[in-house]
Subunit: 128 residues, 2 copies
DNA sequence: CAAACCGTATCAGTTGTATAACACAGTTCT
DNA sequence: AGAACTGTGTTATACAACTGATACGGTTTG
């Protein structure tokens, strides 16, 4: 069963996109595997305090990407082969990093200044 | 006069927040100084192809932060002392970097893996 | 079988963002 | 003084995101 323990609702960003991202992150990090049970729409909506429709929207889009398989009436499961994992991993890693690099460049930082700042902030948080 | 040449409207992110960010980035990078003229609401709305009310909302919030000074009827100017510049610089640099570091940690990357990925992507773009 | 769950669908309502069309008063400049 | 700008404010409209409530039929389990 996929866990939503460390999941906290962000501010302005659409909830359904946050959920999609959370699951993709879990897959990329290896915390979520193949044929793993997904929380039901109702259960997750109750846990997060959001509307079931919002969860449905997120799951539906994940199903369009082939990451989730749903059968009417039954529980939903993940469906991630090795190619999918690699694809998601590249998508998230390279995407986020490119955005950050662009932001740092626009702020006028040099490569080493930016990397130094990141290295400093890495230690401030816990773990890794 | 503040330039909006290299400014392109993004996809889903609110336009008024993009405008606020663009001006703050210019100040943090040193491209925008003190007592610099800000494009009029009407002129900028025509240039970007958005509604004047959207520009007004962005300028109004910048005025609340003390970054812009507006006198009814006259042109608007920036108002940024050294403390403000430092504050904005920290806000943008540390904020973006903290978000990126958190994302990389959640993806299961080590510090060196993340920094290596960033260093690679830094070269791919132009300049700096 | 029957209860309890599940996915799926529809409807109306609220909020935030953006558009559109104005109006009014203060300023700058010729 | 008068024209052309400026900032400011109002109202109505549109759309996407999210909420709230409800319903239907399929699956699972005791």
């Amino acid at each position: 069963m996929i866990s939503f323990e460390d999941f906290v609702l962000g501010d302005g960003y659409p909830i359904y996109l946050q959920i999609i991202r959370h699951i993709k992150q879990g897959i990329a990090a290896g915390a979520i595997g193949h044929q793993e049970e997904v929380p039901s729409r109702r259960a997750l909506s109750a846990l997060l305090g959001v509307n079931p429709n919002t969860i449905q929207k997120a799951y539906h889009m994940l199903e369009d990407e082939g990451i989730i398989v749903s059968r009417s009436g039954a529980k939903s499961y993940t469906s991630v082969d090795e190619d999918t994992v690699q694809h998601i991993r590249r998508e998230l890693q390279a995407g986020d990093t490119a955005v950050w690099v662009e932001a740092m460049k626009r702020l006028g930082l040099s490569r080493d200044q930016a990397l130094g700042l990141a290295a400093d902030l890495w230690e401030k948080g816990q773990e890794n």
